[in-house]
């Protein structure tokens, strides 16, 4: 199945939970996640199943005004 991580296409051989995907991606801490523009709290990583065509955003702190 195909997913998009920060707008980059990624192919997965099987469906997996968000925590497993993050284990594979190893994003730099700290970060927060949204799937299809909906925030997913850390508490739900292990129960959130990544679906075909999901758009996943991994966001981190940057400077701001």
């Amino acid at each position: 199945m195909i997913i998009f991580v920060n707008q980059v296409k990624k192919e997965l051989s099987e469906s997996l939970h968000l925590d497993a995907l993050l284990h594979e991606l190893q994003p730099k801490n700290p970060f927060a996640i949204s799937i299809n523009s909906q925030f997913v709290a850390k508490a739900y990583y292990s129960t959130t199943l990544v679906q075909d065509n999901d758009h996943i955003e991994i966001i981190s702190p940057v400077t701001g005004g």
């Binding site: 927060a32 850390k42 966001i59 981190s60 702190p61 701001g64 005004g65």
Partner: protein
């Protein structure tokens, strides 16, 4: 004499001794950013969220480590959001990342001026407040919009002086002064200040604080300018409490005229 030592101001029950809030963007280097923050000792520093990997220099610059080192409260913003739904999602993500309920609500309605979308701002603020956020909404000087923000529960508001990053200073002094007279909650002037004198001006009008970024970051010496703004904010607050003299159109000599040598009745 009671105001000679300014005790600071209170936002959502939390007291801040400094009345300056400082943005963290556009500095020449992380070290200069750190120096500016250290010398200004702001009440809060603003930060934002972006896609990981979108700006590698920022992600790897240790900005997060700097925030932890400084130990100054962080005010995350929702910069770049054009729809209320985006604001809500970013706010929740910011709460998790920064471990804070503070949120600078930015809902942009026009890309050219970065003017806030005042038609949707109030309902968005209401939703965030209901979700437990301490909302500091970036708004215009529109009195009715500001009053509605207070009505839905905002305990402080942040009207602009001028569009973000322009450095023009207060573009509508009359409206900002009327706003100060009419709105009772703490108000922080956010955006558009370019000079320390601009900060002093709005503080003299009775504003509780200022939030600025570009005026410091793009100064030739940002650290020195950060100090200048810090002092300017304090000067303006002291002047507000001191009470200015009434302005006159006619000259009045400050030196006594009685007994002036060589003076004769003409």
């Amino acid at each position: 004499m009671s105001h000679l030592n300014d005790v600071g101001f209170t936002l959502y029950g939390q007291t801040f001794t400094s009345r300056l809030l400082l943005g963290t963007s556009r500095y020449p280097s992380p070290q200069i950013l750190e120096d500016a923050i250290q010398i200004a000792q702001p009440a809060m520093v603003t930060a934002s969220l972006r896609r990981q990997g979108a700006n590698p220099s920022e992600i790897s610059s240790g900005f997060w480590d700097l925030l932890k080192k400084l130990n100054i409260p962080v005010l995350p913003n929702t910069a770049g959001c054009h729809r209320p739904e985006e604001v809500i999602q970013i706010a929740h993500m910011a709460r998790e990342v920064f471990n804070t309920d503070w949120i600078k609500l930015e809902l942009i309605g026009d890309d050219y001026t970065l003017q806030p979308d005042t038609l949707n701002l109030v309902e968005t603020a209401k939703t965030l407040l209901k979700d437990g956020f301490k909302v500091l909404p970036y708004c215009t000087e529109d009195l009715v919009v500001c009053q509605r923000l207070v009505d839905v529960g905002c305990e402080a508001i942040m009207p602009w002086a001028a569009p973000i990053g322009t450095g023009m200073g207060p573009s509508n002094p009359y409206a900002l002064q009327i706003l100060r007279e009419r709105i009772q909650v703490p108000m922080i002037v956010d955006a558009g200040l370019g000079l320390p004198s601009h900060a002093t001006q709005v503080m003299e009008w009775g504003y509780d604080g200022v939030l600025l970024n570009t005026a410091v970051a793009l100064a030739q010496n940002p650290t020195q300018m950060a100090l200048a703004f810090s002092l300017a904010v304090q000067a303006g607050r002291q002047a507000f409490h001191a009470g200015a003299m009434p302005a006159n159109h006619v000259a009045q000599p400050s030196t006594p005229t009685l007994g002036t040598p060589f003076w004769h009745q003409s």
